[in-house]
Amino acid sequence: MSRVHDMGGRYGDGAVVPEPQDAPPFAVDWHRKALALTLAAGGLGAWNIDTSRHARECLAPKDYARFSYYEKWLAALADLLVAKGLVTRAELAAGRADPAPLHARAFRAEAVGAALARRVPYARPGPAPRFAVGDRVRTRLPARNAFVAGGHTRLPSYAAGQTGTVVLVHGPHVLPDTNAHGLGENPEPLYTVAFAATDLWGAAEGPGDEVTLDLWQSYLEAP
């Protein structure tokens, strides 16, 4: 297994608790601020989405397991701000900082509407796909980042070492395994691969049940 966030298939988590369809988007006021601060700080451009996901994954297992969703965001935001030299430990400990003018790269109110409505695609020019729809492929075992020990990867453990069938070919996309670590975008063909639930879990809930995952070419080999 990689890290505590890699929980697909885990037993022990209890029931899912549905909410009304028209529940407000934020249950409590601090959730609003947690989201807004995280997006605004992300707007500084000091890290990319893969780096921020990895910062959440790197929370200590005991914190990750007890934190609610936005608590994970806040903790990772604080860790990233320090890692990138934007905030000091002393400032976090004090809960305050000396006043400074608005940063040149700060996400400005007047830019927000357009920025959030803009698509920032992850597709890139890159190598031709090695696999086609209908091909059988086997995933890497163990699931791991092949560039950085303990690094970010998007192959969940539950799908490692499994054989499935390509159902969609998306073309080259930015590789999270390098992009999260400042090692470049390294675009690779991305595929959606369908696996039989019987293979993933040893037994399926119903006949024909499947799980699909989006997987980069280097996660896959011909079986």
Partner: protein
């Protein structure tokens, strides 16, 4: 890069999350790293502009217009743009259509990826450990917790969103909805029916 070290900087902040937010906001605005007015603008987007009503428009259009449905299933990124839908976390959209043979359901086991420009902020259950852990292994038990029982012969395909592709479930058009216009159809399309944990409402 964060280390595998118990000494994470975040532990210097108050443990109460409301106080954590307050401390971070104080520090970031004081240092000029965050424009306080930007916070309001961000919330305006996610509280007032985007939400499941946008995804519902897409589904209702697909139900009413078979040429749009075909374009949606062939290239949803382009098709939703026809309706003016765009934005972060909606860069690469794939629409998956429920049929009598296959029910589709969406999860992100590794974090909580979600088609924000189509459905807004994800509900808490979507981001819960229970949903992330269980949806891939026992989707039918999870569906039962939403009050959904699939008919005999319908298999489940769960889409684990492990990349920047975002999935929109196009539920089956409910019986009795013949003759309804797009706005009336859209009113039947619930958020959960576009994630695959629910079914559309039936016309009254």
């Amino acid at each position: 890069m964060p280390h595998d070290d118990p000494d994470h900087p975040h532990s210097l902040l108050p443990s109460d999350p409301a106080l954590r937010v307050k401390a971070l906001e104080t520090i970031l605005t004081a240092k000029g790293l965050v424009d306080p007015a930007a916070l309001d603008a961000i919330l305006e987007t996610y509280e007032e502009k985007v939400g499941p009503h946008l995804g519902a428009r897409v589904v209702a259009r697909a139900w009413s217009d078979s040429a749009f449905r075909d374009r949606l299933l062939a290239d949803a990124t382009a098709a939703v743009a026809e309706l003016g839908i765009s934005g972060r976390q909606g860069e690469h959209v794939v629409a998956v259509e429920n049929t009598p043979e296959t029910h589709n359901m969406v999860v992100c086991t590794l974090c909580s990826c979600y088609p924000w420009p189509l459905l807004g902020i994800p509900p808490a259950w979507y981001k819960s450990d229970a949903y992330r852990a269980r949806a891939v292994r026992e989707p039918r038990k999870v569906l039962a917790e939403f009050g959904v029982a699939l008919p005999e012969g319908q298999s489940v395909r769960v889409w684990d969103s492990t990349a920047e592709v975002r999935y929109l479930v196009v539920p089956m058009r409910p019986e009795g909805s013949e003759g309804l216009d797009e706005a009336a159809l859209a009113a039947l399309v619930t958020r959960d029916s576009m994630i695959g944990t629910g079914l559309p409402e039936r016309p009254a």
